[in-house]
């Protein structure tokens, strides 16, 4: 236990700060996100992530949003376990035909008002997989999309920027 506390203390807070001399734009982005979230969602937003056919690359970067450097929860953005708890669906991948109904049902299970963010090149336009017998291509071919975050995969910073785009709508 002492070792654990020691490591925690010695690690300190690595979360990237405002006015960091490295001019990291992360914090600024986060603050802007918070301002927009405040307006529409009283300070918090719940996101349900849905992999509709991704290669798992986007998931790795979405995971990274919760690491101590980005710590997205400090801006009131929570990734939640059920669409019933969600304000926003964050959808990755081209929508595989085998996931089409599951995505539609997840969308229906999300209470109104709701927003959809399509994250990654595949979700944006079908990416490397496009439309085929097995893939519906872009997320917008299946459910209405409010914001698109390009990138293969989008970096955690790009993901934050994309959420900002959602708030400005």
């Amino acid at each position: 236990m002492l070792r654990l506390l020691k490591k925690t203390l010695l690690t300190g807070i690595v979360t990237e700060k405002i006015k960091a001399p490295t001019n990291d734009e992360l914090e600024q982005l986060g603050i802007e996100i918070k301002r927009h979230i405040d307006k529409k969602f009283s300070g918090s937003i719940a996101i349900r992530e849905v992999d509709a056919g991704s290669c798992n690359g986007c998931e790795l970067e979405i995971h990274a949003l919760n690491n101590p450097f980005y710590d997205i929860e400090r801006f009131g953005i929570h990734l939640v376990a059920s669409p019933r708890h969600a304000d926003v669906l964050l959808v990755t991948g081209p929508v595989s035909r085998h996931m089409q109904t599951a995505l539609l049902r997840t969308y229906e299970a999300t209470p109104n008002p709701k927003w959809v963010v399509a994250a990654g090149d595949c979700a944006a336009c079908g990416g490397e997989f496009g439309i085929s017998y097995a893939s519906c291509g872009a997320v917008s071919n299946v459910i209405p999309v409010d914001v698109v975050i390009p990138g293969c995969p989008p970096t955690p910073l790009a993901l934050m920027k994309g959420l900002l785009g959602l708030m400005k709508n």
Binding site: D51, S54, C55, E59, H63, T101, Y133, A134, T155
Partner: protein
Amino acid sequence: MNSTTANWQTAFFNQLVLKGCVVERISIASAMLWQIESRDWQLFAEQGLEEQLRWVAGWAEHNQSQFLVNACFEKQGLYLWLRTIITAEKPELPSQATVYPAASRSERHTRDMFGIEFIGHPDDRRWTRHKAWSENSYPLRKDFPVQGTPDHITPPDMDYPFVKSHGTGVYEIPVGPVHAGIIEPGHFRFQAVGELILNLEERLGYVHKGIEKIAEGRVPVSLARLAGRISGDTTVGHAWAACMAMEQAAGISIPPRAAFLRGILAERERVANHLGDMGAICNDVAFIFAQMQFTRIRELWLRTNAQLFGHRLLMDRIIPGGVACDLTDTGCALIRQDIVRLRNELADILMAVDLNSTLEDRLYTAGYLAPELAAAYGAVGYVGRASGQRFDVRKDAPYAPYDQISFKVAVEAQGDIASRFWVRNKEINSALKLIEKFIDLLPPGDIMTAWREPLAGSESLAAVEGWRGEIVSYVRFEADNKIARFYSRDPSIINWPALEKLVLDNIVPDFPVCNKSLNGSYSGNDL
């Protein structure tokens, strides 16, 4: 791949002939292909099992009026590539799944995609096919259009005949395809009594994206991009396997510097994923300290990737003929510094992890995969190596740059989640040493060999050790530098069935950590 015919292959060949099996040996690219009559397909498997061959992969190919059915086996680092040819009028042959359980899903996949019947298969249910195409159409036949004829909305696969159980107190838990975490989609059907898991059945195929079909007609650069997206966490591994197969088929060899850079990229990918997994295993038993520490050091590692190679996950760094990025002396120095820092961090964190009794409680003895079972399923990578299966392509069938250095492969026989955790740690240590050696030995020179268009019909089979384990890629070219057939066997295809076994007699709440300790790729499995 090693093309020398070792003693066991000669003896095995003679034994097959003795059993009345008609075998023809054909040398293709760098591998040796054994072609047999379709009636002997199962006989070969029976003999192979007796010879203790490991079943590696199975795939087919449609060629006008016939189907080429392939299987790959391995023993002592030597691969044996088996083929039979059957007519399109009567596409059937005896099943190998009756002998090798590992072949079961592969044969179901081939049946769904080609309409080839494997006679005597112990499980005649569909596998890859849900409802996106009809029962009597087969996407990988050449006359099936890539666009298919899908419904406007593909219905869910509601009537899949799951195994049923009856009896007092037995109940079912359906999970997925949409899971509660940020993970890939798949369905798990549990039968449980109280909290105890009686049976688990996996139903995958939800992220089937038609990769094999859309690979056809691509040029090498484009196939490498696609292969790099078979499983996003294994982008280096799959791109390397696909490029190696294409390079062998085209008869080109990559510059030594490119081989070493590929080695550095592959080991960096291994470290990044193991760090993520070790954190996630701890997270699944609610030990958040470790999750935060591991994700922190993983992030630092990925930032170095972005700084030196231009991509956090190293996508599209491996291209046909070599690599897309070089490493400067300052870059090498930075990597060295990084490794020193990572070792120090890991020493701190692992000390705290090792001494934690709650982790010990949850990870030791849970999710036990017996070595015999791991051998029967041919488990690969850290799943196999935590259950006594020593095989590692880098060591046993070495390719450049692994053929030029010595290193240790970590093996444990304990077979539980803790073992799969600590094997990952050992693999990180070995990967860090490998990266240092690669930097020491990094030869000067080009990082690319000019591409040479292969002859129509050229084919090859390649194997590399991805971070999850052995990846096997098959490529055949047609005219104009285009791909006629591509198949890639992700290690997950082999390891997924082991999960169904290792969760038995565990409690349902331990399923997430059992699953994470194996961490199969859904996308790599579904293709």
